[in-house]
Symmetry: D2
Subunit: 437 residues, 4 copies
C-alpha cells in the first residue's frame, strides 16, 4: 500500500473545496493524502486563491502534513496522481442561469441536471471532461477519476464509452437518502442498508433493511406522511400515499420533475418570478461564502457551507477513496458501467447502483428487488435520452441532439425539441467546440 | 390440407363485415371457407341481422358455397372452427365517445387506442377476450385467433400471457403503409418490401426496399415533402424533414400523438368543438352504412365502406389466413410474442414485426436495421405502460393501472393519472367486472 | 435480532458433526445457537448416538448453553428452525462404492460428484432433499437451508427450481482454495481476495488479489511449479505451466477429471487395484473415527477428523450462518440461483460465485474477469448435463437421464451412456422411487 | 436489376467446378451470369486448364453466352464481381492426408472438418480467406462472398469478425438433409420444410413439416429404423431409437463423430488400414475425374462427379445466388452472424440456421423449436472451440490454439491437446505464416 497519496481536485476553486479539505484532514490517519493539488482555470484565479488560502490555513491549524498546492497547470496536477476529482462548472453560474431560463421560457422545466437544462450542461461539459481524461490516460493511467460534475451520469457514460480512464461517478444523493431514512426511522445510520438502483438523479430505493429486517413498506408509508425527504435544492412536495405504494419503491428527489411535472413547473415559474432562477440564488450564496472564506482568521470549514446544497459530497468522495485505498469491500452506491447489472439497460450504459468497493474498484451487487415495469419504462426512456446526449456531446451531432430532446419526458415533442435545441446551441456557442467544427 | 374451413367472426354485426365477406368470396378457390359464422351479442341483434342478410345476398350473388350463419351462441360458432376473428367493441360507440372525451376534459389527447382512451378500452376489452379464449381452448384448441380488436397490441399480449390460444394480432396499418409507399414511389405494391418493427400503433418502418434496392432515405425525404402518409382517422400533419432524417425511420401515423402531441391536442380540441368526438363522426358514418346495407337490392360491398377508416382490414386478415392455410412462407407484419426478436423488450411482450407466415404460424424475421436509442426509448416506455395495463386489465389491479397511466408519455404525472383513472373506472364501471370483485 | 437460534442438522450422525459442533461452541458469543437438533434416519441410529453423545460432551466441557437434541423425527427438528443443514448420504457408503465402481468397469472415471458417479448420487439424493424441502416450506418457511450434500450444485439447482425454500449450496472448496493460495504466497488469509466463478466442483479462480494487488499471473506461475494445490481427496497431478497460462485462471481440483482425464483414469484404476475404491478408504477412516468418538473421555473434536477430506466444511457453514445472522455484508463463495450473474448460463441455474452475505441472503457480485471461451465452453456443457440431471432426478425421466450422460465430457457417447445408465438404475433401484412410478 | 452478372470462382480448378458450371447454364434465363472467372494459383495450373477447357465446352454446347475466363490473377477475377465463391484447399490433398493422419496416430478421430483435423485446416485456411477478403473490400465491396471452404463455420466466423465483406457460409448438408427426408417420407422435395439450427457440421433438424403437418416424431422413428441418412463421406452407423427420441431432433451426419465417437474411431482405424485415409481415397477419385475431364468430347458434367461426395454444392450455391439476385424471399439454411438468433451463443458467432434470402442478404427466422439442454450443451462447447480456433487462426495465438483443442470433445485433455497442436504446427509450418511472425 502506498504510504503517501497524491490527489488532484479539478475545479479546486469551487466553494465546496473546504468540505473535501476537511475530509482529508479528518481521515489523514487512515488515508495519508500528502499532496493535494487544487487546479483551476485562469478565469477562476480569484476564487482559487481565496479557497486555496483557506485550505492551507485549515491544514496548518489541523497540524497534518498535507501539502496544498494551487495551480493552473492541469497536467502538473494530474501527473502521477492516485485520485483525480472533478467539480468544475463549464461556463460558470451564468451558463447555469441560461440552462434554467431557456426551458422555462417555453413552459418546460428548467433544471441544472434534469431535462433541457441538464442537456445543455452535458454538451458543455463532455468536451472538457474528455480532455481531462486524455491527460489522465497519458500522465496517471492508474489513477481513479471521481466525477462529481453534473449531469454526473451522462458525463460518466461519456468517459466510460470514450476513454480508458478508471472512472466512478459520484453523487451525494445516495448517502443523503440513507441519512434521511435513518432520521425518519430514528436509527443509527450504520444500521440502515438500502438497495438503490437506476441512473444518476433518477434512482429508486427498492429495498430498505434496518437491523436485518426489510422495512421497505413501512418506510414508504412514513414517507408519504412526512415532508422533508428530498434534496435541499428540490421543492418539497409530498408524495401521495397510493402512488408510493403502487410504485413499490422510494423515488429520489429528482423524480418530482417527472411524476409531479406540472406542480414543479408551476413552482419554478413562481419562484423565478420572486427570486430569479436557482442560479441567481446560488450566486448570492456563493458570494457570501467567498466573503467568509476571505477572512484570514477562518481556518475551519464554515458551518454556512452545509446550507449550500451539496452536503455530504465530501463524505461520499472520501468514503469511496478510503474503501479503494484500504481495500475495504464495503458497499456504496456509485455510477459505473452497467455490464448487465441492470439487464434492461445497455451493457455500456452508466448506472447508479450498490457496489462492493475495494482496491480493484466498484463492482455492482446483484439486485434483489424485481425490476417492475413502472420503474423500467421511465428508466429506459431517460437512459435512451442520455445515450443520445452522450453522442451529441462527444460528436457535436445535431440529429442525435434533436432526438435526445424529443424523447425526453420533460420535452416530448419534435417541434419543441427543435426550438429548445436551437436556442441552447446559440446561447452556449462559446462552449461547444464539437458543434462548430 | 382440409378441404372445407370453418371461420367464426366474433362481432359479426360490425359494419366492417361486408369487407371480409367479400374477401372470402374472392379467395374461395384458394381457400374454401364453407362455414362462416357471424356471431354477436343480443344488444347487436339488429345490426347483425342487417349485415348478415347482406352477407347472404353477397354469397348468393357470387355463387360460392359459403354457408353464412348468424348466431348469438358464441360457443356454437367457435366449436371446431379453423379460424376465429374478433372485431368487437365492448360498450359500443358510446364507450368510445367517453374514451375520447374524458382525457380531453383534462387537456390530454383522447384517442381510441393511444393514451388514456386506449387504456380504458383495454380494461373493457381484456375480460371479454379472455372469456372468448376460454371457449377456444375448450372447443377449438387448434384454431388460430386473429385479434383485430383495439388496442390490438395490449389485447394480444393479454392473450399471449394468460391463455394457450394460438393467437396473432392484426392491424391494417402495416399493409396500408406499404400501399402508401408504393403510391409515393409510383411502383407496384409487390415490388415494395418494408421492415416494420415496434408494437401495434407504435411501429417504425426502418427499411424500405424497392425492387431489391434500399431506398429508405429517399422515401424519408419524399415523405417530409408530401402530405397524405397517414391513416384515414389521423390528422395529416406533415413531418419535419430534419426530424425524419434524425429519426432514421418512417414513423407510423399514430406517432403524431407523441412527436406532435401539442399540435394534435390542439387539433382535437378544435375538432371536437366543431364535429364532436371521432366517435360521434363514426356513429353518423355507421348509421349511413347500415341504411345502405338494408337495401335488399344491395349484394356487394358498397364502395362507401372504403371511406370508413378500416380499409384493408379484410385484406390483412385474408392474406394471413391464406398463408397459414396454404403454408405459403411469405412475410407479413403481425403481432406476436416477442421471444427475443426485439431484444430490448421482454420476451413475453407482444410486438409487431415482419414474420414468415406458414402452416405453423407466424415466425419473426431477424431485424436488419439497428435499434437506435431514439426508437428504443419511446418503444420501451410505451411497452412498459402496456405491460402494466395488461396486468390491470386482467386482475383489476388499481395500483398497476395508476402506474400505467403515470408513465404513459401522454399523461406523465401521478396526479393527472389518478384523476383520469378514477373518472375512467367510474364511467366504465358496467364493463369492468375485474375491478368490482 | 433473535437472541436464541435453532439449527437442524439433517444427517446429524455423520462423522463430520463434531466439526460443526466445535464451530457452534467457538462462535457461541456472536451467534447464540441454543437448540441444536441432530436428526438422522433409523438406519443411522448407531452412528447418531455415538456422535450425539460426543457432541453433548463437547458442549458440556465448553460450558456453553447449547441444547443438543438427537432425533429421528425430521419434522420436529425442522419446525421453526432458523437454519437447516443437510449432510446426508442416501444409500450410505455402499452406494458410493457402486458409484465409483460402475463407471470404472467401463473405463470411465468413477467419482463421487463428477461424471457418472455424481450422476447416480444426484438421482438418489434429489427426491430426499425435495422431501426435506416440503417440510421446511411447511414448518419453517423463513429458515435458510444450507445444502452440503453432493453433488451440491445439482442438488441446489433442484431446490431452486422445485421449491420455495431459501437455500444456499455450500462447499469447502472455495475456502480451501483461499487457504492454499495464502499458504502459497505466504500471507495472512484475510489479505487474500479471490474471485471464483463457475459451478460447484467446476469453478475457476479468475482473479487473485493480495493486499490490494492483482497477482493472478504470479500465482498461476507458482502453482504450475508447486504441488499440493488440490483437495485432499483428489490426486495431486501438477498443472502444466503453458496450460495454466493459456487458461488464464486457476482451475479447481476437480478440473483434473476433465483436463487430465486420461491420467486420472489411469490413477483410479491403479488405486482401486491397490486400495479399493475411495468409498472403501473412507469406510475405514470412518470406522476409525467412530471408534475414537465412542471414547467417553473424548470431549473435543479429535484432530484425526481433519484428515478426513472435508476440512473447513464447518468453517464454511459457520461463516455463512454468522454473516446472515449478523448481517455482515462480507463476501463468500456459495451456490445460488444465477439470475444473470454468469450471463452465458441460464437464469435459473445454480452457480458458484462470490456473493455479498447479509441478513437477506447471498447476492452475487458482478464478475470482474472476462468470461473467456475456454472457460465458457466447458462450463456450459457441464451445466447442460446438470440441467438434464435435475430433470431426470426430479421426474424420473429416462430420456433426460440418457442425454445427460451422453453429453457429459467424461462419458460422451450414446452407447456408453445407455450402458452406464442402465447399470446405475439397476444398482440403485431401491433408492429411485421417481423412476419406479 | 443488373442484366449481366460477374462471378468469380476462387479455386476454379477444383473437380467440383463442372457442377457449378452446369448450374449457371441451366439457370441462365433467370440469372444471366455473363462473366465466369475461374481463378486458381500457379500450383493448380494443370487442373485449372483441364477444368476450364471442359467448362468452355459445356457452355458452348449449351449455347448460352457465358464468358468463361481462366486466370491466376485473383484481383482481376474479383474486380467488380457480383458474387465470389471460394472452393479452395490450402495445401491440397496432401495437407488433408496429414489432417486425418495426425489425430489417428493418437487414437483421436481424424476428420477433415471436425476435431483436430478440421482445426489444422482452419489454421491453414483463415489467412488465405482473409487475404481474399481484403481484395473484395477493395475491388468489389458490394459483392457477396459465398464461402464453401471447410471448416465453413469457422472460416465464415473469421470473415464476420475480421472483415467487412458481405459473406454467407454454405454447405450441402442442409439441402441434402431435406432431400433425404423427402425420400424417406416419399414426398416431393418442395413439400418438405425443415427447421435446422446449430453450427456448420453440427446442426440439428428440430422440426420437420410436410405439407403443413409437423411430422418430426414420425421421421425420428423412421430414421432409427433406416440406414442411409448421412453424407456420402460419413460411415453409415444407424441411430438408436431411444437415443433419437430422447434427443428430440434429427442429428446431422457429423454428429456421429460425437455421439458415436468410439465406433467411428474404430471404423477409421480399420478403414485407414485398408484404404488409406479419406484423402487417399479422394485423390484416386479426383485423378479419375480429371482423366474424364480431359476428354475433348466431353461437354457435360460427367455423372461420376455425383459420386464424389459434394453433391448439391452447386445446387446450394445457385439457390442462394438466385434468391439474392431475384429478391425471392424464400428460406434456405446458411451460415451467418448470429445476432441473437440462437440466444445461447455469442452475438458475433457464425451459426447455421434457416434464413429468409432476398436482395439484402440472409435474415434468420426465429426458431420455433425450444432449445433443449442436450442440444445446447454440445453446441456451446463446440462453438467455444470454434471461437478459440478463429483467434488462433487469425492471430497465430498458441495459447488460444492449445485451449481450443483442450476443450474440443474429441480431444478433451490438456496433454493430448498439446501433443496434437505441436505436431500440427510442425507439419503445416509452410502454411501458417500467422504462427511464424
Amino acid at each position: 500500500m502506498k504510504k503517501a497519496l497524491k490527489v488532484a481536485v479539478i475545479g479546486g476553486g469551487s466553494s465546496y473545496t473546504p468540505e473535501i479539505v476537511e475530509g482529508f484532514i479528518k481521515r489523514y490517519d487512515e488515508m495519508p493524502v500528502r499532496e493535494l493539488y487544487l487546479v483551476d482555470i485562469e478565469e477562476g484565479r480569484h476564487k482559487l486563491e481565496i479557497v486555496g488560502a483557506l485550505a492551507k490555513r485549515m491544514v496548518e491549524k489541523a497540524g497534518v502534513p498535507i501539502d496544498v498546492k494551487l495551480t493552473f497547470d492541469r497536467r502538473e496536477a494530474i501527473k502521477d496522481a492516485d485520485f483525480v476529482t472533478t467539480q468544475l462548472r463549464v461556463g460558470l453560474l451564468d451558463a447555469r442561469k441560461r440552462d434554467e431560463h431557456i426551458p422555462l421560457k417555453h413552459n418546460v422545466i428548467g433544471q441544472e441536471t434534469t431535462g433541457a437544462g441538464g442537456f445543455a450542461k452535458a454538451l458543455r461539459t463532455i468536451p472538457v471532461i474528455l480532455d481531462i481524461c486524455k491527460d489522465i490516460e497519458e500522465l496517471a493511467p492508474n489513477a481513479y477519476l471521481f466525477n462529481f460534475t453534473n449531469p454526473a451520469g451522462i458525463v460518466t457514460e461519456a468517459v466510460i464509452k470514450y476513454t480508458n480512464v478508471k472512472s466512478i461517478g459520484l453523487c451525494n444523493l445516495p448517502i443523503g437518502t440513507r441519512m434521511q431514512i435513518a432520521r425518519l426511522c430514528d436509527v443509527e445510520l450504520d444500521k440502515v442498508y438500502i438497495e438503490m438502483m437506476g441512473i444518476n438523479h433518477l434512482n429508486w430505493t427498492t429495498r430498505i433493511v434496518v437491523d436485518g429486517n426489510d422495512i421497505t413498506n413501512e418506510v414508504l408509508s412514513k414517507v408519504s406522511e412526512a415532508k422533508g425527504v428530498t434534496m435541499k435544492n428540490i421543492p418539497d412536495f409530498g408524495w401521495d400515499k397510493e402512488f408510493l405504494q403502487s410504485l413499490g419503491a422510494l423515488p429520489c428527489g429528482y423524480h418530482r420533475y417527472y411524476y409531479m411535472k406540472d406542480e414543479m413547473l408551476q413552482e419554478q415559474l413562481e419562484s423565478v418570478e420572486k427570486n430569479g432562477t436557482r442560479a441567481d440564488v446560488v450566486k448570492r450564496v456563493e458570494a457570501e461564502l467567498f466573503e467568509l472564506y476571505k477572512d484570514p482568521e477562518l481556518a475551519i470549514k464554515p458551518p454556512q457551507l452545509q446550507e449550500r446544497g451539496g452536503a455530504y459530497y465530501s463524505e461520499a468522495a472520501l468514503n469511496l477513496m478510503s474503501s479503494i485505498y484500504l481495500n475495504k469491500g464495503d458497499i456504496q452506491t456509485v455510477n459505473v458501467r452497467n455490464n448487465g447489472a441492470i439487464s434492461c439497460l445497455p451493457d455500456d450504459a452508466s448506472i447508479e447502483i450498490n457496489c462492493v468497493i475495494d482496491s480493484q474498484g466498484a463492482h455492482p451487487v446483484q439486485l434483489q428487488a424485481e425490476m417492475t415495469p413502472q420503474i423500467r419504462g421511465l428508466l429506459q426512456v431517460v437512459k435512451a435520452y442520455e445515450e443520445l446526449t452522450v453522442e451529441a456531446g462527444v460528436h457535436g451531432d445535431y440529429e442525435k441532439a434533436l432526438q435526445a430532446l424529443t424523447i425526453h419526458p420533460l420535452v416530448g415533442t419534435a417541434a419543441l425539441a427543435k426550438t429548445l435545441l436551437d436556442e441552447i446551441l446559440e446561447a452556449n456557442k462559446g462552449y461547444l467546440p464539437q458543434f462548430n467544427k
